[in-house]
């Protein structure tokens, strides 16, 4: 493919078509390596030309390739499925791979998600958080008897399966936790991801736990009654999960437990 060049700016686009309106982006990144005792948290600014269809994920890769080889950030799928690239984008949690730079002002500030353990720069350990949440809330199907793995599973109504799947779309990216004022203030709060999990297992007919059992897990001020309905979780969720509805649903169910 032959590349054309713009006479005025001299810039070239990925498609080879000159783009007079290409912007110069300034991306300020909070950098810190907690493994290095000499490292001090600081902002570093990087400049680059915006390309058509550029996401923050693409921009970060370009910065790492061309300007800052030591820059740490996570990604796997590049398609909003794995939940690895969650970060604070201009103070708001979101996925780098799902954020188009064209939708933003040319000055962009990136920081790691709070609450989670910092690995370095924009990389945080959401896995450790999700694991402790899963263990604490026992987020798996509970059955009294051993399931017979040689037998076909009980059939489930398609509507029910659909509803469970809807809540199962959570990718544990950590955005809801980082956007939650309660989780920021109170580290033991289970957050929307945890309460959504409980709602998911409560829906599942294979899970034999009663509301009394779920109350033992989330019926406290660290659980559903600690939620202050700030709804930052609902409003930043990259998967657009119905967190507002699920938080209210679990609150109603838990409040009725005798």
């Amino acid at each position: 493919m032959s590349k054309s060049s713009d006479q005025t700016t001299g810039r070239e686009t990925q498609t080879g078509v000159s783009d007079q309106s290409a912007r110069r982006l300034t991306i300020k990144i909070l950098r810190h390596n907690p493994q290095d005792s000499a490292s001090e948290p600081r902002f570093e600014a990087f400049e680059l030309d915006e390309a058509p269809g550029m996401t923050l994920f693409i921009a970060l890769n370009q910065i790492r390739d061309e300007q800052a080889p030591s820059l740490q950030f996570d990604f796997v799928c590049r398609a909003g499925i794995c939940g690895s690239c969650g970060m604070l984008i201009n103070g708001r949690p979101g996925l780098a791979c799902r954020t188009l730079t064209s939708k933003m002002a040319p000055a962009i500030t990136l920081a790691p998600l709070p609450v989670f353990k910092l690995i370095g720069d924009l990389s945080v350990d959401t896995g450790a958080w999700a694991r402790q949440m899963g263990e604490r809330l026992k987020t798996w199907v509970h059955q009294e008897s051993e399931p017979d793995i040689d037998r076909l599973e009980e059939r489930m109504e398609p509507d029910r399966a659909e509803a469970i799947y809807e809540l199962d779309r959570c990718i544990e990216c950590g955005c809801c936790i980082a956007a939650c004022g309660t989780a920021r203030m109170r580290r033991d709060f289970v957050g929307a991801a945890g309460i959504n999990k409980m709602a998911r297992f409560r829906l599942d007919p294979r899970d034999e736990r009663s509301d009394e059992d779920f109350y033992e897990l989330v019926g406290s001020d660290d659980g559903v009654f600690g939620c202050m309905t700030l709804l930052g979780c609902n409003d930043v969720c990259p998967k657009e999960l119905p967190l507002q509805t699920q938080l209210a649903f679990m609150r109603r169910k838990m409040a009725r437990v005798k």
Binding site: L88, G91, R92, P114, A179, G181, R184, M185, R186, E212, Y215, E216, G219, S220, D221, G223, F225, C227, M228, T229, L230, L231, G232, D235, P242, Q244, T245, A248, F249, R251, R252, M254, A255, V257, K258
Partner: protein, 243 residues
Amino acid sequence: MLASRLPARLDVLQSASGVFLALFMWLHMFFVSSILLGKDAFWHVARFFEGYHIFGKPYPILVSGFALFVFVMFIFHAALAMRKFPADYREYSTFRKHAGELKHGDTTLWFVQVYTGFAMFFLGSVHLYTMMTRPESIGPYGSADRIVTDWYWPLYLLLLFAVELHGSIGLYRVAVKWGWLEGRNSAATRRNMKRAKWLVTVFFLALGLLSLAAYIKIGIDHRDNYGEHYVPASLSVPLEPRQ
């Protein structure tokens, strides 16, 4: 050992007491704003709550009793709501920084709840104690004298903003908290509720400011006759209240 059911009960009671107080404040504003219809209208509203239209004589103790009940609910709600306040400076500054960065409407609204709630600890207590101990003074002249000559107007001005913001934000938050009226499209319902919340706030603030202005005007005109009770056109002598 089973987990305590207390967090669930306290959460329900916090919402219930808040809804009671918010709805009461709406009614209260309508009663207070009857001054805009004239001195006689407010005089009748004030005497109505003293049982004048039922017993033929006013019994201000009825107002004292109700004010005491509202005061108890007010303290009860404040105690329950305080559980959610930032517990120390670290929590406060963390939340403040978070709200500043996130720039998220509902997160900011909660901060407004904290500030207005805190202000009402003091402003609301002064008003409720006065209503409990001086119920017979409630009337076109008595209330206006209190507002102007007794210097209650700055307190009522602040209290008006605190109450109207706190009450309407509180009702909106309780509705989304428990999923009331959510319907099939929770996002659209929430948007509409928020819009309604602002309309209600503006309406009651306007009504409150107009009423306060009316009392201030009466109070200024009545400054030289401080302490005198209003006698409506239908009566020739002031009423003797019964305690």
